[in-house]
Every structure is written in C-alpha cells, then in structure tokens.
C-alpha cells in the first residue's frame, strides 16, 4: 500500500517545517526549476541592460560584408542587411518579454475583476458569466486577436491588449473559485453578522489566499503570450519593423534559412530556451506551492 509510505512522508513534513519553508525546500530541490530560474535571470538581465551590453547599435549595418556567419566580431553572425544578430536578438527579447509580461498583467486584471464579480454575485449571474467563459474557451480566440490586430492597427499596444484580452479565462475561473470558497468561510460569515461589509472582508482575504495560484498561473501565461506574439509576428500581424521581436527574427530567418541558417537557429533556440525555462519554473512553482496538485 503506497499510501502507507506516503503517510509517513506527510507525518514527517508536518512535524517541523512551515508551509512556506517547505515550499522553498521543494523548489530548491527541483533542479529543473532552478535551471529555468537561472536562465530567466540571465535573459531578463540581458534585456534590461541591452543598451549597455549590446555590442552594436540596433540599426548599425555592416554592408561591406553583408550577411556573415558567426565570427569573432559578430558572435551570432549578421542578418541580410549586415546588422549584428546578437544585438537584434537582445532588442527583440526586450519586446518579446515586455509583450509577455504586459499582456499577462492585462489578463490578470481582467481575470481578477471578472472572476471576483462572478464569484461575489453568485447565483444566476455567476452561472451566466461562467457559461460565457466556457463558450469562449471553446472558440478559436486567436482569430479574434487577428481581427483585433487588423482593425485596430498593428502596433505594440494593441498587441498586448489583444493578447491579454484572450488570456484571462483561466485566471477568472481561479479567482471565482477562491471568492466562492471565501464566501463560505466562517470568519466572513462572522464578520457579516457583526455588520462589517462582506465585500471588504473578501477583498482583504482574497489577495493573500489567491496569491499562490495567481503567481503560478501568471508564470505559465507569460510563455503562452510570448508564443502567441511570435505566432502573430510570423503571420505579419504582430510587432512591425523596424521594431523587432523574436518571432519576427525567426520569420525573417526562416525565409532565408537555406542560405543563412544561423539567422533562424539563434533566435529560435533563444525563444525555445526561454519558453522551456518559464515552463520549468511554472511547473516547479506549482509543485512547490501545491504538492497535492496533479503533476501534469
């Protein structure tokens, strides 16, 4: 009976460590999550310090030589206009990460508002609101992003609003669940009987209670958004030149990959590495904060 062995483990865990220390312990033991975290730290620092560490300026062209394969001066080579690829990847990373983070924040705001309203009002309203979420879930929402991008103009602000606007569904479900369970908590009922407004009590307790799931889900939303931005850029609907993102670099590279394969290999690897790291960290956080949750 494996549950016997499990019981012994839980008994041991409950003995000493607090929940948070235990979570940190589990996270530290998760080598993949630590690996992801370090990669992300490097990439984030590089993006923040891009203007300082970039070896060339963004527009600088080396037209005499044209596209060069990786060499001493250009560690990742240059593109077809003779621009340093490493520099362009750094600048592109800024855009990709910014879109990822900002769109996630947009989705967080919408999701929290929608979810807490549904959960707080409850009953019929809640039913209808959640049914809407169910329906949108099953729709090809990238189509709507594409429509939004086409009609609202392809600039970066519309991009992260459009992406954020379709990513809030899961977040709203999480928040609604938290609000619903808080509503039933004894201290909320007690506060109500003492004349304190139920809403303010719930708001005060919602944030600390929902923090864990919010963090976990946000870390998992960022890679999704980065992926979708690249997806749109690939279709010519995302970030527009002269601005650049990883998705755009990959698109440009893919068109000439027969002759200049490094132009697609470097940005693609960096993108894949970032997504991989974010997924590792997200999974690691989930396992650490919620050990009982299903692993997959």
């Amino acid at each position: 009976m494996s549950s016997i062995a499990k019981n012994y483990e839980t008994i041991r865990i409950e003995k000493g460590t607090s929940l948070l220390r235990d979570a940190l312990y589990r996270l530290k033991k998760n080598k993949l999550a630590l690996f992801g975290l370090s990669i992300l730290a490097i990439i984030a620092t590089a993006s923040l310090l891009t203007p300082i560490i970039a070896p060339y300026s963004y527009e600088e062209q080396d037209l005499i030589y044209g596209p060069q394969s990786p060499n001493k001066e250009h560690i990742m080579g240059t593109d077809d206009l003779g621009r340093d690829l490493f520099t362009r990847i750094l600048y592109g990373g800024r855009i990709s990460l910014m879109v990822g983070v900002l769109a996630t924040i947009v989705s967080l705001i919408i999701g929290v508002l929608y979810g807490s309203i549904a959960g707080f009002l409850g009953g019929r309203t809640d039913n209808i609101m959640m049914r809407i979420v169910d329906i949108i879930y099953s729709l090809p929402f990238m189509f709507f992003v594409i429509i939004l991008m086409v009609i609202a103009g392809r600039n970066i602000y519309n991009l992260f609003i459009a992406l954020g606007a379709v990513q809030w569904l899961t977040m709203s479900r999480i928040i609604r669940g938290q609000v619903l369970s808080l509503k039933e908590k004894e201290f909320v009922l007690a506060a109500k009987s003492m004349g304190v407004s139920k809403g303010s009590i719930i708001l005060r307790h919602l944030i600390p209670n929902a923090m864990g799931p919010m963090i976990i889900y946000s870390t998992l939303t960022i890679p999704t958004v980065i992926l979708e931005e690249s997806f749109l850029s690939f279709l010519g609907l995302g970030v527009q030149p002269p601005m650049s993102s990883w998705g755009l670099l990959i698109t440009d590279g893919a068109q000439v990959m027969e002759i200049y394969p490094w132009m697609v290999i470097f940005p693609a690897s960096i993108l894949a590495l970032t997504l991989l790291s974010l997924n590792f960290v997200g999974d690691g956080l989930r396992d650490a904060l919620d050990p009982k949750a299903k692993k997959d």
Partner: protein, 319 residues
C-alpha cells in the same frame, strides 16, 4: 493442518527518509477452516503483512527482506509472479476496507465480477455471467440480475461491500483475507456484513483472516487473535483468552478502548495515550514502551521475544 504458514516475515519500505520497518519479523499460521483475527492500530502492519506476501505492495519502495510464507505447502515468496497471480483471487481472495474506492468506478459490476471468474477458470461467458448473478444472490443482493448491470456509484456502501464479498468468493477461495471489511460502513449494516462473512465461511469451509483495528468486531467471529503493534506481533491467543486473560499491556489497553454494554458507569472508556511510533526510527527495546503503563527498567533496552506463556504467546518482559 495449516493452510497458511508465515515465518519471520520482514517487509520494509525504502523511502527517501530512511527504511520503514513496516513488518518486522512476523510469524503466524492459519489452520484450515479457522478464522484468525489480526488486530492493531493503523500503521501497526496488520494489513501490510498480508499485502506483502501476496505481492500487492508497490516495489519500490516496498521490499520483502526475509522470511518464509507457505500456502498449502507452496512457497509464496519464491514462486514466480505468474503462479502467484494465479493464486490471487482464486485460492486466496481479499476484501478491502473501502468499497467506495475498491471497486473500479469506470466498469460495471458485471464486468468486474465476470473478469474475476474468466481470469481463473476456462468457462464460457454465459456461464461466468450465471455464476456472477448467483454470487450476488448469495450475498443477499435483491434483483441481482438487474443490479449486476449497475456501476459502483449507483449502489449504497453496504451493497458495494456485498459486491466486494461476492467478487472475492466467486472462485471458492481456500483463504479469504478481509481487511477492515466493515470500517467504512454505517454501524447499522456492519453486523449484517460480518454475519454474512461468517455464514459463507461456514458454508464453504474456507479459512478467514479478519483484519481490524476494533476488537469489538472480531469478538464473536474469530477462533484465534493476533495483536500487532508497530510491525510486530505482541500477543497471540485464542479469542477467549484474549478477552478474558489478556497478557500484554497493549492488548489490555485495546480492550479498555472497546465500548462494552456491561461497562458500569464509573468504568470510563480508556484510550491509549500517545501515538504509534515512527517506524523509520522505532523506539529501542520494546516498541510499545513509550506508551506502556506497566513499563519496567529493561523495556527500553532489550527487545522482548515472542514466547509461550500458558496457552498464549506474548512478547513482553513482564512474562
């Protein structure tokens, strides 16, 4: 003649935090036609012992370290897995504690009954179906030919446990191991289920091992009782002796925690203070000594051996 003979069985769990000695040097036997009670708190190894020699523990982390187990003269620990599988559900059957989770919710009762027969005997599906319906009738399920089509969640807890019993008896086992068969059930239907097991046992002449944490359950049904604590046998005696002249302090404590109708008002129901020990780091000497009311000097130093005292066997320094 003994149908089951267990000698010096050791089964440990190799976990991250160390070795958990869940079954530590356990010996007992079951005679043909006998009902043996195995009593202990949760974590005493009373279930794990039986799961171990039947090969029902996940390995790793579980591992049989040493010992000998013979069923009808056949060595269970050294036979190949295929032969052991053919014994399970056929000559040796088990009933588990929670009928809620022990039946597969995704499969109909019919499927789960019929596969038990078809795995072990070479008969047609129609015959297997007939035998399954008969099995349900035998355990007192009304409208068995309709109920057999249902899924577990459509039955009540008591009905489900009856299905479990029917399933265990389909192949007329020689030995039935009932692991807390009534713990998850309502008090009102516990007696019925126990009576059913007892009647079927007499009818079929099989041997039964009845595992429970509740001495009250085994009182009327068993011929002999072994009391387990922290992976070891503390006392073994006839049911009569256990109840009338308990020897081990742990047995006495267990008896005092059983509610009895003849308890006079002043006689308070006692519970055993403390918790069962962590079996990764068992106490030195006698494993019961930290909770023992009759502890003497050598209890925490020397491990007692199971020795014969009169008609009983007991593992305690007091004897």
């Amino acid at each position: 003649m003994n149908i089951l003979e267990v000698k010096n069985l050791k089964n440990y769990f190799h976990t991250r935090d160390g070795i958990v000695k869940a079954v530590d040097d356990v010996s007992f036997h079951v005679a043909k036609g006998e009902t043996l009670g195995v009593v202990g708190e949760s974590g005493s190894g009373k279930s794990v012992t039986h799961l171990a020699y039947l090969g029902l523990l996940p390995s790793p982390p579980s591992k049989i370290e040493s010992g000998n187990v013979h069923f009808q003269g056949k060595d269970l620990l050294h036979m190949d897995l295929e032969s052991l599988r053919k014994l399970r559900g056929n000559k040796i059957s088990m009933i588990f504690q929670d009928p809620m989770t022990s039946l597969n919710p995704f499969l109909s009762i019919k499927t789960q009954l019929m596969e038990t027969i078809l795995t072990h005997t070479n008969i047609s599906e129609q015959d297997a179906y007939k035998k399954s319906v008969e099995g349900l009738i035998q355990v007192g399920i009304p409208a068995a030919d309709k109920r057999i089509e249902s899924y577990p969640h459509e039955l009540s807890g008591g009905m489900r446990q009856r299905v479990m019993i029917a399933m265990a008896l389909l192949n007329n086992p020689e030995l039935l191991i009932a692991d807390e068969p009534t713990t998850a059930l309502d008090v009102t239907i516990q007696a019925g289920v126990l009576e059913l097991i007892d009647n079927l046992k007499k009818q079929k002449g099989m041997s039964v091992i009845l595992i429970t944490h509740d001495l009250g359950v085994v009182a009327g049904l068993t011929d002999r009782i072994i009391v387990m604590y922290a992976g070891q046998i503390k006392e073994e005696a006839s049911t009569f002796d256990i109840f009338n002249t308990p020897k081990h302090p742990y047995t006495k404590a267990l008896l005092q925690s059983v509610p009895r109708l003849d308890t006079t008002k002043g006689n308070r129901l006692l519970s055993i203070p403390g918790l069962p020990p962590d079996l990764a780091k068992p106490p030195t000497g006698c494993r019961f000594h930290p909770r023992c009311p009759e502890k003497i000097d050598k209890c925490d130093k020397e491990e007692p051996q199971l020795k014969e005292v009169g008609n009983c066997k007991v593992s305690c320094h007091l004897y």
